[in-house]
Amino acid sequence: MKYIAIALIVLLAACTWAACSKSVPVDEDGLLITTRRDCFVSSFELLGTDYVSVRSGAATIDTTAQTVKVTVLFGSDLKHLYPQFSLAQDCKLNPKITGFVDFSDTLNPKKWTVISGDRQVKKEYSVILSVQHR
């Protein structure tokens, strides 16, 4: 009888430990790592210092060439633009966008890497800016 009680306690402890252990993987940002392998930019926005869009038209996203081409309004302050990416489900972006970005060096496009939900696929996108003529 005594041994059965001990065995039950051990079993209960094992079950409790199993219930508390995490089985879902998260990455270094605390984001869920999933099984999705999709890895692309689905849409792109660019805001000015007034947080109003400075695009003169829709951004052209080429998922094969991994480029985002966007024409901004004449007179936009290229040193202070706020890019916003929409990504495939569970993807994340590197480096993170934390504020305004300087796009004034149009000969050297800014680059961001899209990382898939399973964190195994990485694709580097170039954001190529052109300025609308007056």
Binding site: L73, F74, D77, H80, H133
Partner: protein, 336 residues
């Protein structure tokens, strides 16, 4: 015997619980507060936002004494720095009617201001009143603190006072509803807080910081713009600057920053721009132009000599090439 004992135990427990409930629900006795038989007073500041030179700060000062003890004789407000012209105390005591409208009842003679002191002498036989005091902030108070001491006197010889403040008076100033027009009143001097036409700009060439222009282009959204005279000529299409108008500036375009002082009628204008906003403003690397401005847009500006920072808000624009703007301006001292 054993069952009886258990029954008594349960009954006692039940009684105890019921007693606990009854005790917890019992209301404490309430007695009407006994009014003080002394002259009493209370003051509030009714104005919100920064205290700007030339603008009034409104207070409501309430005073009362038991009718059996006496009536009110006079009310005085004494400012630590004398108010500017227009400072007064309303000689009416207000109540709010059923429609929510403030209705004033005259209780005293019109206020008399002598130096920093404003007084209303009661003419009505009243033992309670609330008077409103409007202190217009004088130039001497800029950047300093102001306190207001309210004093009430009653017919039985009692005097009571309360002091409000200190209130910090801003260093910034304000200019409302400046009219701009394309090809005419288009030269803005932040230092002078004025808009000039071409002749005026030529006469004050060294003070012109911005050029207002409106261009309805089919190829780009230019529309209403503020551009520093030294900006690339591509941002000044068709503008022939008066001789000597060549200063630059730093500009930062924003939208929907509806300062309540500059745009008091805007629905979402619950924001106040204060000195600290100008002190923290960093326009490093910002351009010397801002185009495609609309109603509700604003532009932060720093002049070329680093002497002024300003926020210019577009109250209204018209496609005829006109705009109404309001400005808050902060004078920098040693870069701050």
């Amino acid at each position: 015997m054993q069952y009886r004992s258990k029954y008594i135990g349960y009954a006692a427990l039940l009684l105890g619980v019921l007693s606990l409930f009854a005790a917890s629900c019992k209301k404490d006795g309430y007695a009407l507060p006994k009014p003080s038989d002394k002259l009493q007073n209370e003051a509030i500041k009714r104005t919100l936002g920064p205290n700007i030179v030339g603008q009034p700060i409104e207070f409501a000062y309430a005073m009362a004494i038991l009718p059996s003890k006496g009536k009110l004789v006079s009310c005085t407000a004494e400012a630590s720095i004398a108010g500017a012209a227009g400072t007064y105390m309303d000689n009416r005591s207000y109540y709010t009617d059923v429609t929510g409208t403030d209705v004033g009842v005259t209780v005293g003679s019109p206020s008399v201001t002598s130096g920093a002191t404003t007084t209303v002498t009661y003419t009505a036989d009243t033992s309670a009143a609330t008077l409103r005091y409007f202190y217009v902030i004088p130039e001497e108070a800029r950047g300093k603190s102001v306190t207001i001491k309210f004093t009430a006197k009653s017919s039985n010889g009692e005097t009571i006072s309360t002091t409000m403040g200190p209130y910090t008076i801003t260093r910034m100033d304000m200019r409302l509803n400046m009219k701009l027009s394309n090809k005419n009143m288009m030269y803005i001097s932040i230092g002078d807080s004025t808009v000039y036409d071409s002749a005026g700009a030529a006469a004050h060439a060294g003070n012109i910081d911005l050029v207002y222009l409106y261009r309805n282009l089919t190829t780009s959204a230019f529309n209403h713009a503020l551009v520093a005279p030294a900006a690339d000529t591509t941002y000044l299409p068709g503008v022939l600057l008066p001789p000597g108008v060549n200063r630059t500036a730093k500009l930062l375009k924003v939208f929907n920053l509806q300062d309540h002082n500059l745009a008091p009628t805007e629905q979402y204008g619950g924001t106040f721009i204060d000195d600290v906003d100008f002190q923290k403003l960093d326009l490093t690397g910002d351009p010397n132009y801002a185009i495609n401005l609309k109603q509700g847009a604003g532009v932060w500006v720093e002049t070329a000599d680093g002497k002024y920072r300003a926020y210019i808000y577009f109250n209204a624009v018209a496609t005829a090439g006109t705009a109404t703007v309001s400005m808050k301006r902060y004078t920098l001292t040693n870069g701050k």
